[in-house]
Subunit: 514 residues, 2 copies
């Protein structure tokens, strides 16, 4: 059937969708969510049909992605026919029934996800089935390989390529901004890609962006790494594992993440990493609450790493409270610079030095911890950071106090004196986000009280920073409702930390960072 | 945030979707597939947000369903804010983790499905989880009740209300068109709603539509039943169980149907039925292949019926080949009229009489079979059918030969003489659909050879009818490629029926009719 193109100036977020009238759909024998083949100028494309009740009968509506993929213009004529169901859909149905999939079946699914031949309904069913039935190690490996082979890869040639990844979960974790310059300053290659915040007040890409651009092309990254041994860039637009961007869109509302391991390690492999430290923050304030969970996840990482030829070590790190004091993009970048200059909060320095030292050990460095300490104390790490900032297009002379922290601020004080017995990272995150983080880069929270610390009556618990007074006001209102920091003289004097159902009792679901 | 409405003249097929620019989404803290609350003129509505890259920043794009639900006009201002996740999403997540759901959890899910608060991704995850984990009888009952209470219901007052449903699967099954007038002629009430074909060459609604309108409102149905005791209408637009229309859209591409039982019985209950016969065609040519499957399904129907206060009996019927000879809407309606007039193929008459007699028995009629036979032989059933046709707005004087059968036809003959050993219903369905059925109502196939029957050399195997010569040509081409009817003199002389992979070996997945 010939139809006339109607360009809909709307993006669908990736899916290739075409709109047919009911009449055309009937004549073609197309039902909603069936595939159609659209042909034009010897180009052909598969799209998923949406059927609209009042759409003009002789037209086909194409969203921006579909227009771009086919290269058509408004009012052009295209040929439209019913397309067969993709083979991969039968593999998904097999997984629904609990079958183990072969490498070629998984390859077919991932390829069709990337080429947009599968609808979000079908991807949702696949991920739900994976989440319920679980993945065999063979399936996990096959998914990783399929995600690598459908994406771009990078190669830095020489020597070991080091990398570091955190599954996330504690606010204020700006460790990568210190580990990368330490490792690069020691002469090792560390091309670090990071994500932006989804539910947290800042991701590493958001933090680094207050110092320099992070949205670099693959060629630009190669140049930066050639000059400096390292980089701190946003991984989101590099298409290292484009299937993952589509999987995560579907997983996010469902609160499931069966693809976590393949997602993380396929990206490490795609960037050419050979030695990787995975940080698993574990504790009350982290996504991973118990050591049992953490050990299980860690051993899965190590196993999958072996299968993919990656040398992996996992670090279970203290996750009962935020790391350092600053929470919010600029506040965190400031703290990272101070730490690289030899100051900063001790927990942050300790964690960055320990993780760097693990990486050094993995590539055979003796006195690895001393080397990591030395990179900071000698000023080499700070110098390296300035080189990286310059290479990515930022100002290498930047000082911590130059960073644009929100002009609007308020101080939350304690009505009592005592020691900090309990600190809710969830509440701190909510207050920082209410103040505007991560979109408003100067917004956030600075903690003055941390677990076990002493607070005087009227002493400062935390400060709130915002870029707009309205945001500060609503963050302050929220802070007044919540009690993120609980004090007592001795634990036994204050056994009730919180009362339920006075607070929202629904457990928050997290997505681990990848 | 205030945004200006941009009306998108497109229907989404039910979902309430709003389009935001990236900038607006960022300011609101909305991610793709998050919900937003839209407020206008004291009306408020929840919609699912789609984020578009190049959408005007100060506007919100609303699809037709969303515009209608909110009653807004182009360029009107609306207030938009991030809405919390619906409670039912947490119930879906619980089901993903294998938990049993309570009646109130299921009610919340079904209500949010009907009110479009859940996205297709979330509905797909729910149905996948149900399909994998299975449903407890309590969950099945709760789903049925939730589907009834979120839909419309009918009440015909007096006495027992009889009904009949087939889970479908054999082509040519026009039994309902004979059972309804038999039962109604005997003085019982039988308000029959039917579906249209999705993957078959004709549904009962498609067949009846060649005689009279089937798209009646609830009030029109009440009038028809008050006048005639029965009706033969399309159930699709009555909103008896609107949740089901949304579930089936998602289940269809996945080839799963965890909602089959609640779907069928909630509609029977909504129409006020008290006594129901469920026909389960079983055999090589049906959707249900084995007696084991059929018995399991039958006992589930009976159990759920008891819980819902419905008296149910199931009939396992012969399903190795099509029923009767005509396949395609008009060809089947013609055969049904001939059967009501005392002629027609014997298997069709036998099945209709048996099912009617089961219904009579269930309501205490003695000599139930004789009563059913008598309704046909006395002409009362045919008279009743003419009353129903008239009441629904058709021509009561219609004769079988008046029905508009396709002008283009061809005869397929046998190259051999022998007995029919094997007959592929799948192939017959494909040929009938290729000829134009069900959209072209005169198209289809008439079988002259049936299992065990004798065919002479050059004897007629089947005829193909089409409304257009191009459709006839492609149906003929397909018939030449397939061998839908296999003959032999004695079975032992022709043990190989088919060769694989010469034919498409992928097993066809069916949806049972509901």
């Amino acid at each position: 059937m010939e139809l006339i193109v109607e360009v809909l100036m709307i993006t669908t977020g990736g899916s290739r969708i075409a709109i047919l009238s009911e009449q055309s759909a009937n004549l073609l024998g197309v039902h909603s969510s069936d595939r159609i083949k659209i042909t034009c100028n010897n180009q052909e494309m598969i799209a998923i049909a949406n059927i609209a009740a009042h759409f003009p009968q002789n037209r086909i509506g194409l969203y921006e992605e579909t227009v771009a993929a086919l290269g058509v213009k408004e009012d052009e004529k295209v040929k439209v026919q019913l397309a067969p169901l993709p083979e991969s859909l039968f593999n998904i149905r097999a997984k629904l029934h609990g079958e183990r999939l072969l490498e070629k079946d998984i390859m077919a699914i991932v390829k069709d996800v990337v080429e947009r031949h599968l609808s979000t309904v079908e991807i949702a069913a696949f991920l739900t089935a994976l989440s319920i039935h679980g993945l065999s190690t063979g399936e996990t490996e096959a998914l990783s390989r399929a995600m690598i082979s459908t994406g771009k890869t990078l190669s830095f040639g020489k020597g070991p390529i080091l990398d570091k990844h955190s599954v996330g979960g504690i606010p204020g974790d700006k460790t990568s901004m210190i580990v990368v310059p330490i490792v690069a300053a020691a002469g090792f290659t560390i091309p670090k890609t990071s994500s932006r915040a989804i539910t947290s007040p800042a991701g590493t890409a958001d933090r680094v962006e207050t110092l320099c651009p992070v949205n670099l092309s693959i060629n630009e990254i190669k140049n930066v790494v050639a000059k400096t041994n390292g980089c701190l860039v946003w991984g989101g637009s590099l298409e290292l594992a484009p299937a993952d961007d589509l999987f995560i869109q579907v997983e996010y509302p469902l609160g499931i993440d069966p693809m976590l391991l393949p997602s993380i390690l396929s990206k490490k492999k795609a960037i050419g990493a050979t030695h990787v430290v995975i940080d698993i923050p574990t504790g009350m304030g982290a996504k991973i609450k118990t050591r049992t969970e953490a050990y299980a996840l860690a051993s899965d990482f190590v196993d999958l790493g072996k299968r993919l030829g990656l040398n992996i070590q996992c670090a279970l790190t203290y996750g009962d409270q935020p790391l350092g004091c600053g929470i919010g993009p600029a506040l965190e970048a400031k703290e990272a610079l101070m730490t690289l200059m030899g100051g900063g909060p001790p927990d942050l320095r300790e964690k960055a030095v320990s993780l760097s030292s693990m990486l050094f050990e993995m590539v055979g460095v003796e006195n690895s911890r001393a080397m990591a300490e030395d990179m900071i104390d000698s000023g080499k790490a700070m110098k390296k950071m300035r080189e990286i900032i310059a290479a990515q297009g930022g100002n290498p002379a930047v000082k911590p106090e130059d960073l644009p922290v929100g002009h609007e601020s308020a101080v939350m004080r304690s009505e009592l004196a005592g020691k900090v017995l309990w600190l809710s990272t969830d509440d701190i995150v909510r207050i920082a986000r209410e103040a505007g983080a991560p979109k408003e880069k100067g917004a956030g929270v600075v903690l003055h009280a941390k677990l076990g610390g002493t607070v005087h009556k009227n002493g400062v618990l935390f400060e709130i920073y915002a870029e707009r007074s309205s945001k500060l006001a609503s963050a302050l209102e929220l802070a007044g409702q919540l009690s993120p920091i609980v004090l007592s003289k001795k634990p036994e004097e204050k056994m009730i930390l919180d009362r339920i159902p006075e607070k929202i009792t629904r457990e928050k679901t997290f997505m681990l960072d990848r």
